[in-house]
């Protein structure tokens, strides 16, 4: 009886599959639930994949598979000579999605752009606090409230941003998820109906996919936006099957319950590559892991001591042990996929004997230090504890006694920023917008001391270069400045740069057209799936 039933069920399922065969569905086993669907409110990539990269567009977009920007909802733009005025010509005839819950009556225009930014910038905007505790974290993190003086509608298809100071990375910032463009018409309707919080639950934008439904913690469904200004996606339906455990994601892919998934376990990658039905795409991640000395505390205030310690640590061994080789040893503070990366720089080679001598020459004897190991696994550092243990053993060989300490994650982040912190911190960074400024000034600039600058390192020469680059719009000129900055960084060694990890994306061989994005976002607008 049982087998009969199972057979009947299988038959039914098969016939139903047959019935929908002309609808191409891609199932993506996503790694977690989105926090909400208004990308302005959040900072997590999981949320962005489900909202900004499917439903929304921005004025400028990152080209598929690169950190270069290309026109998005803005067709073209001009920057004033003083670098403070950005004028965008908007694309015409762009339609907002029509859904069960809203039917737009007009095309995208300048009002939508002004609305999307003002709600984040102006505390008196009715949408500024439309959900409890809305803090517009990313916009604040990128300094938008201080940077942007005004967002003005020049005419229906022209918008002007006036800045308080020239800022070259601004254009790249506009490609970021929090800068997604929402529909003002939809917002007005929700406000009139007293249902503003729906903006965070039922999103509506101009992007490649239209939101259909979200079953909390289980499934998100989208359908292709037939009116998409950049051409209708090749798949008809996109489904996110939320699967938090990486081992289960692998099982689901192998069983055909999904066709693509992110963040495989490092230990699974080899086996996935051997599976003839699967492709595993890989790309160098836009990230760096580092060991930041506290350069305000002796003897770590001396560059030669820091360099000696760097030479004592075998980074290759760390990459092999922690990443099973699936990462590359870092020599610069920015990843190799980023423009202005200076490949001519020579790393301080692993050489314990030379390190020992350098320490002796610097008058350092019987050094005792602390190494801070993060309590969590991050893409740039899967196991900080293990890395710290290897460093500890390496340092012991040159006569340095290292003690490993750790704190709970939020506490770790807070305490590691302290100027008088005792010890060297393992931490890292994943790029926000593909601009070198986002690493070099954000993590190593003088104004980040006591904050993101965990080395508490303020070098005037370096800082002048990155500040100058920030105010220069010419990319060739900026590249030169950043390359000079990287030379100073290597000479001064405020960090031991540990690794840039590799990002893997396993998928069924039926999936074509998927490009990995260095920014760590997952986009499906170019993807097709074979029958």
């Amino acid at each position: 009886m049982k087998t009969k039933l199972a057979f009947a069920a299988a038959l039914l399922a098969a016939s139903m599959l047959g019935g929908v065969a002309n609808a191409k569905t891609l199932v993506y086993c996503s790694e977690g639930s989105p926090e909400g669907f208004d990308p302005g409110l959040y900072t997590a990539g999981t949320t962005f994949d489900a909202s900004s990269r499917t439903v929304y567009n921005r004025l400028v977009e990152f080209k598929h598979g690169s950190t270069e920007i290309e026109p998005g909802l803005a067709e073209s733009w001009t920057i004033s000579d003083d670098g403070k005025e950005y004028t965008f010509k908007l694309r015409q005839g762009v339609k907002f999605q029509t859904t069960d819950f809203f039917t737009p009556t007009r095309d995208f225009n300048a009002d939508d752009v002004v609305f999307s930014f003002e709600r984040q910038l102006k505390s008196d905007n009715p949408w500024n606090k439309y959900v409890a505790g809305a803090s517009w974290e990313y916009s604040a993190g990128m300094g938008f409230p201080d940077l942007i003086k005004s967002v003005e509608k020049v005419d229906d298809h022209t918008v002007k941003f006036v800045l308080n100071r020239p800022e070259a990375p601004f254009l790249a910032d506009l490609g970021m998820d929090f800068a997604s463009i929402l529909s003002k018409e939809y917002a007005d309707k929700l406000a009139a109906d007293g249902k503003m919080e729906q903006m965070n639950q039922m999103p509506l934008g101009t992007g490649p996919f239209t939101f259909v439904a979200y079953q909390q913690d289980a499934v998100i469904r989208y359908k292709a936006n037939a009116d998409y200004w950049n051409g209708k996606p090749k798949i008809d339906d996109l489904v996110f099957a939320i699967t938090t455990d990486a081992s289960v994601r692998r099982q689901k892919l192998e069983a055909g319950e999904c066709q693509i998934y992110p963040y495989p376990n490092a230990a699974d990658v080899e086996a996935l590559k051997k599976n003839p039905d699967l492709n595993v795409e890989e790309q160098a991640g836009l990230n760096v892991a580092y060991l930041a000395y506290n350069t305000l505390v002796a003897p770590f205030d001396k560059a030669e001591v820091r360099k000696a310690l760097n030479m004592a640590i075998n980074k290759k061994a760390i990459v092999d042990a922690v990443f099973e080789g699936q990462a590359q040893v870092a020599k610069n503070p920015i990843p190799p996929t980023m423009w202005s990366y200076d490949d001519s720089i020579k790393d301080d080679a692993y050489d314990p004997d030379a390190a020992k001598k350098m320490l002796a020459d610097a008058g350092v004897k019987d050094l005792k230090m602390k190494i801070w190991a993060m309590p969590v696994s991050r893409p740039y550092m899967l196991n900080a504890r293990r890395a710290a243990e290897l460093m500890q053993a390496d340092l012991a060989k040159v006569g340095v006694t290292a003690e490993i300490v750790t704190y709970e994650w939020a506490e770790y982040l807070k305490r590691s920023s302290d100027k008088d912190r005792d010890g060297a911190v393992i931490l890292g960074w994943t790029g926000d917008n593909g601009d070198p400024d986002n690493f070099l000034d954000t993590l190593l600039g003088c104004n980040a001391v006591g904050g993101n600058n965990r080395a508490q390192w303020c070098n005037k020469e370096f800082d002048d270069l990155v500040k100058k680059a920030k105010q220069t719009s010419d990319q060739a000129e900026r590249t030169k400045l950043y390359q000079q900055a990287q030379v100073i960084f290597k000479k001064e060694a405020p960090w031991d740069t540990i690794d840039h990890s590799t990002v893997f994306m396993p998928m069924s061989k039926k999936v074509t057209g998927y490009t990995q994005d260095p920014l760590g976002i997952h986009r499906f607008d170019n993807v097709d799936i074979a029958e």
Partner: protein, 334 residues
């Protein structure tokens, strides 16, 4: 009986207050707060941190926060999630049916297999059957849920392809939830094959979540049965010439059930704890998974509200168990 009932209910009030204090204060004793975690590696200035904490009302003295929290609960307002910005009660009732459905299946699975196994093991004491059942129960009880779940997935879904890997129903089926119970909703949807799909998705999580209760119930039934079978009245019943079925099934089992019912009641707490892991492995959208995510994000309102609601359910079940004793054993209600 009424006095017995009222007495039990009155005890719930101080228990509930105690639980609310614990739920409220424990999560705040953990280092870190939701605002700090929101910004990740990017450092938030202390001023900004203070401002957002103020907006969330988290800078007030703990006692004040607690009182306004309790005030809200009395008005039926459990607060809003810091992360999703959604009302907690709404989220709880969206997710709870999934947990309840899974837990009910697991407990039924445990009872249906556990009680007969325990009874037979007791009757055939010392036999090969007894020893293998008790051995298996010990293994089942000691098996880490996470490992057990993954093992079953790899075998039955990965290698044999008999069961789906995870989720509640095949993604092919798409209908709005009516009751929140997938088995019922799939029938109501009228879509062919939906019920079979929902049922097949329940098999592995039910086994995984039901394993520990199954082991406990089987062992408890066996030992209770052994005790009862050595009682004088059982010997008398046998001496009267009653059939072995009547002796064991009617006379002995009914009395042996009292400690077993207690055990089953206590398993509800164990199951909700087990649901946390089971739901995480099987991507089962229930309250266990919801709570785990919230702890990682320090979503205080969700954790304290969720704990309180779960504690309320456990208390309610215990009350029902107490009342059930009364039905099984008349001595208790007098």
């Amino acid at each position: 009986m009424l006095k017995f009932f009222l007495g039990r209910v009155l005890v719930l009030v101080p228990t509930f207050i105690g639980v609310s204090i614990i739920a409220f204060s424990f999560i705040r004793l953990l280092p870190g707060d939701p605002v700090m975690l929101m910004s990740g590696e990017r450092v938030m200035s202390p001023e900004r941190h203070a401002q957002i904490m103020h907006e969330l009302g988290m800078d007030r003295p703990m006692v004040m926060q607690y009182l306004s929290y309790i005030g809200g609960i009395l008005r039926g307002d459990f607060g809003t999630s810091v992360v999703t910005k959604q009302p907690i009660l709404h989220q709880f009732f969206t997710l709870f049916p999934a947990t309840l459905e899974l837990s009910l299946c697991a407990i039924i699975f445990a009872i249906v297999l556990g009680i007969p196994a325990g009874v037979f093991a007791a009757i055939k004491r010392g036999s090969f059957f007894d020893q293998s059942v008790m051995g298996a129960a010990l293994v089942g009880y000691s098996m880490p849920i996470f490992w057990w779940g993954l093992l079953l997935i790899i075998l039955f879904s990965g290698i044999l392809r008999w069961t789906p890997v995870s989720g509640r129903i095949d993604l092919l089926y798409f209908f709005p939830p009516v009751t929140g119970f997938m088995l019922i909703d799939s029938l109501l949807s009228g879509q062919k094959g939906a019920f079979a799909s929902a049922a097949s998705h329940l098999i592995l999580p039910t086994i995984v979540l039901g394993t520990i209760p199954l082991a406990v119930i089987a062992r408890q039934t066996r030992s209770a049965m052994l005790e009862v079978l050595s009682e004088d009245y059982v010997r008398t019943a046998r001496a009267k010439g009653l059939s072995p079925f009547r002796v064991v099934g009617i006379h002995a089992l009914r009395n042996a059930m009292i400690p077993v019912i207690t055990t089953i009641g206590l398993q509800v707490g164990v199951m909700l704890a087990g649901a946390i892991l089971t739901e995480s492995i099987f991507s089962w959208p229930g309250i266990g998974k919801w709570m785990v995510d919230s702890v990682f994000k320090r979503d205080y309102p969700v954790i304290q509200g969720g704990l309180l609601l779960i504690a309320g359910i456990i208390m309610l079940v215990n009350l029902l168990v107490d009342l059930a004793y009364g039905l099984v054993n008349p001595r208790i209600r007098h």
